[in-house]
Symmetry: C2
Subunit: 251 residues, 2 copies
């Protein structure tokens, strides 16, 4: 469903890349000049499925998406969550055969960019290539933290950790305040992201609530009662997110 080709739509990508790499006016203009089409996506809709041959990269314009993998026994593991300004499917399109699926968590808009145009851009403009590379390295850092989270932390710590990560990433992305955010995931999805079961997620969330660490005004929102304590319980340190040094801390 092709809607429009508004040339300012790629601004979130410029912002994301320029967050960590200094980009000159020409580099910025070159990114904005990438061809793309905007697509409206529904909740649950797939952007790519494992084993597809992906020839496009998609930029999240609004809404949330997840990357996930299925095991032989039919269990799902969510391996990453993406929000506005993030390029999903760079991975799959650059490596030809998709090694995981990408699916919308909420309705939203994405900008579909041909892979070959991104390759051309990176070959033409070394600083843009560098910025994309750095972005990929940060993604990998988050993946490492997730391996540790899922592999070596107990349920309470794991859940507190992921809630902290969301809080910080959403705040940095301008999508949340210090203490409150919309959590676009069901308990099933939280379970798939933490390697637990929905039942245990439910119990763990209730536990954190009872302790006063979080509040749930409604099932799709989280308010952090005591950030310091939650971060401590969640063994959370922002180091792995590689934020800018001047990024204000949460409290």
């Amino acid at each position: 469903m092709q809607l429009q080709t508004n040339s300012s739509s790629l601004q979130p990508l410029v912002d994301k890349l320029a967050y960590r790499t200094a980009l000159g006016a020409e580099d910025r203009a070159a990114i904005l000049a990438l061809p793309f089409t905007v697509r409206m996506m529904e909740r649950g809709q797939f952007i790519v499925r494992e084993r597809d041959i992906a020839t496009n990269s998609c930029l999240m314009l609004s809404g949330y998406s997840v990357r996930s993998k299925m095991t032989a026994t039919g269990n799902r593991q969510i391996v990453a969550i993406h929000m506005k300004g993030e390029l999903v499917d760079l991975q799959n399109s650059m490596l030809k055969v998709a090694d995981h699926s990408v699916q919308m968590l909420t309705p939203g808009r994405i900008a579909v960019i041909p892979r070959d145009e991104i390759i051309r851009l990176t070959l033409d403009r070394p600083m843009v290539a560098h910025a994309m590379w750095i972005d990929t390295l940060v993604d990998a850092s988050i993946l490492r933290e997730w391996v540790a989270n899922v592999g070596r932390r107990d349920a309470r710590t794991r859940v507190a950790h992921i809630l902290c990560e969301f809080a910080v990433r959403l705040r940095v992305g301008g999508l949340a305040t210090n203490t409150h955010y919309e959590l676009p995931m069901t308990q099933d999805q939280l379970a798939d992201a933490t390697g637990l079961t929905a039942v245990h997620i439910n119990r763990t969330l209730k536990g954190l609530e009872k302790e006063g660490l979080i509040e749930r005004p409604n099932p799709r929102a989280v308010s952090i009662g005591d950030w310091r304590k939650l971060a401590e319980v969640g063994d959370f340190d922002t180091n792995y997110l590689h934020l800018r040094e001047n990024e204000p801390a949460l409290h």
Copy 2:
């Protein structure tokens, strides 16, 4: 400990990058022209520690290393294993503050390359930048598989899976035959890589042995009795390794 500056030492890096990206003679020469120093490393020695400011990237010339993270409770999670030809610490050096440690699993030699020289090379030579980017993307793909392995597979499957991954990666790297390889990890280290305990690793390995799926001629070697079965038990598919299409399959 600076030993020598033999200009052919970086050949494994050229081979690794050229495995997935076509590189011309000039690009190859530019990589080989990178300045470096060779260091002998002992078993257990750290290449970088979490929170260090890394200014070098290291290429494995021989031996094995692991990347790992520690949790607040003192548990360790190994998040990646590296062998000859792989660049460790690209991640840490490009992102300034290290988000994980890199440590030798065995004695070995590494080539230490200044980060700034790598950046310069990638800004000068777009195809080299592209090759390094692709390499980072494959690393990230392996991390995603590890998240799924540790998050959603039971002990038997997890262990079988990691044994399969080693078999394939070592064979592709020319470090193993079809059915046999040296496994440079203790059971403690295997536990840290799979999110299990050493005791349970021991029992699981014994179980796989009893089933005839593997044999252990000695504690540092693995022979695969029935590759097909092991891959099935381990829910293993090489897709996520993004091998070349002409790469012969194991059997």
